[in-house]
Symmetry: C2
Subunit: 342 residues, 2 copies
């Protein structure tokens, strides 16, 4: 009798581990393989960083409220974010797109206008890929390529106890934007009422047209900061800091009162009776950079207003915890802080 | 009023041209962009070749008769074929896969067993990518990366009049395999009769488990042959030689009696009353290398039993033609030789 193991029983990260655990690297040029934000390939002394993502209609985006131009822009940006998360500079992308024959050339032009706008903003070249018909809705796959000075790439496994945990920008807003758009969509379907997005442009923009933190990587170079580990916040702060802790073999302490929020986002969260902290921990799609630095870099980091120090690394034996505003200590779990599941 | 242009009105290649015509290359390292088998990126003097493809269930493969292991193998090979078509050697791949929650871990293991088998055969490393759930059937995107000595990559635009047109291996067999499997599937659906694939293992294998022509690229290096242009035969000989002619600004003459066929495939074609020449011209999925060489390389090429010389390039004013066994001259058209459409 054949065995049957449900994917749900081992989870996404368990599955990736399972499927890739027996990889034996054959080429000396494969410096870093599966398991980080991007792969690193040696090209005769200089290093190339590569990352690839798949975006499927109905899973990763809803065309009901996502303009095609924004989708094109975002498809590129989320991949560039992985390149920056390696402390590298993106240079090229390859784009594959599958679309139904219901699409007009003008609709595809809209999508590509967004792709090219992102290429311009981040100074990358679209150099290849594939177009295909699809009977399965819109499917997008982007591969991003970047460069990094020899051995300057930053992995997830270099953090050590007492390193400062830092994050760029703000957290949770994209998830609030998603919550708002899903709510307005439901209301529209039920009542025909047009969406009321007034005063919410910030959180909607954070979801539909995110930016990658090019500026932070440039700041690292200027200020001569070498983060000890880095990841981009795509799955939620909780899940992403746990990736770093696992790969670096550390524990961590996060302070809720240090989390960076946007005022408009916070206002909307309270209106909706959602906890902004839960959005930060479990929401995802922020595309901010989460990184650790040695304590010696404290003064340098403090001088950058776009960076918040939100905690520090510990010995692994101390576990992974959040200290709330009220002073309570909660264990961080992969699906997010457990309050998020209330 | 908004314009609406149907994609079908400009065709796949017209669409790609339309969507990419305004690209301005910003990075000096982007040596070759959209419009060939793969992109070429300069890495400080050495060159990297990259190609990416999207495979969608129901468009590119039918799980009704495609074992998952074969599908994993083929997903890798079709991308490696693009790297070899640049005269480069593949070194790494990135793999994205989207699958429904109906899939068991064992089913994914089967798929990955095929992926790893291809990696072993071609000595490439799987270094990254993304897994995702899909509500749209199985979706696969592979990006392949390869290396080539400086300026030794072979594009589609270097052929000149009087160059010999050569092709590796055999043509049309994969299309015959597809025809057979589609026929058996129809019979099974209508009558419940189990497929009769006896004596047809060759053509079925050519479709389900193709190989990329690593050996030909190795031969070029050993024999010091520099093809003037090259492409892999994925859309059918007719479409692919027309790509070379267009980009090289040449005409061509192909000789039907020089086309390489496999005996089993030819036998099956006659049984089915299908013209093997039409299969070669319009079938596609052969993953052979179609290339041109200077006449000075004639003796070298002749000595390789895996290569057939099937015609020669001409001035563009002479057009693109096939000379049949009977001595008739037919114009080659993008959808294949017009007899194929009978």
């Amino acid at each position: 009798m054949e065995n049957r193991t449900e994917v749900s029983s081992i989870g996404e990260f368990g599955l990736i581990e399972h499927l890739t655990k027996n990889i034996e690297i054959k080429n000396a040029s494969s410096l870093l393989g599966v398991g980080d934000d991007a792969a690193v390939i040696d090209h005769f002394g200089r290093q190339t960083v590569m990352s690839s993502d798949l975006l499927i209609e109905g899973i990763h985006f809803d065309l009901g409220y996502t303009p095609l131009k924004h989708l094109g822009y975002k498809s590129v940006v989320v991949n560039l974010s992985d390149i920056y998360a390696m402390n590298a500079v993106p240079t090229q992308i390859l784009l594959n797109i599958g679309f139904s024959n219901r699409y007009s050339v003008e609709a595809l032009d809209e999508f590509y206008a967004g792709v090219y706008a992102a290429c311009d903003t981040y100074n990358v070249d679209l150099v290849g890929g594939d177009t295909s018909s699809s009977n399965k809705g819109l499917i997008i796959s982007v591969t991003a390529i970047g460069e990094v000075a020899p051995d300057k790439y930053v992995k997830r496994n270099g953090a050590k106890a007492n390193d400062l945990i830092c994050v760029s920008g703000e957290l949770g807003s994209a998830f609030l934007g998603l919550t708002l758009l899903e709510r307005e969509k439901r209301i529209f379907e039920e009542t025909g009422a047009q969406p009321d997005l007034e005063g919410q442009s910030h959180i909607v923009g954070r979801l539909l047209k995110p930016e990658a933190r090019k500026d932070i990587v440039e700041y690292f170079y200027e200020a001569e900061i070498n983060p000890t580990s880095m990841i981009d916040v795509s799955d939620g702060l909780s899940s992403d800091i746990l990736h770093i802790c696992k790969q670096s073999n550390t524990g961590c302490i996060l302070y809720e009162d240090k989390f960076p929020f946007n005022d408009e986002a916070k206002y909307f969260a309270y209106k909706l009776e959602v906890d902004p902290t839960a959005c930060a921990l479990s929401g995802g799609e922020d595309y901010e950079l989460l990184f650790t630095v040695d304590q010696a870099d404290y003064e340098k980091i403090k001088s950058n207003p776009s960076v918040s120090i939100i905690g520090y690394m510990t010995d692994p034996s101390e576990g992974k915890h959040l200290i709330t505003r009220g002073g309570n200590k909660h264990e961080l779990i992969a699906q997010g802080w457990n309050h998020a599941k209330k």
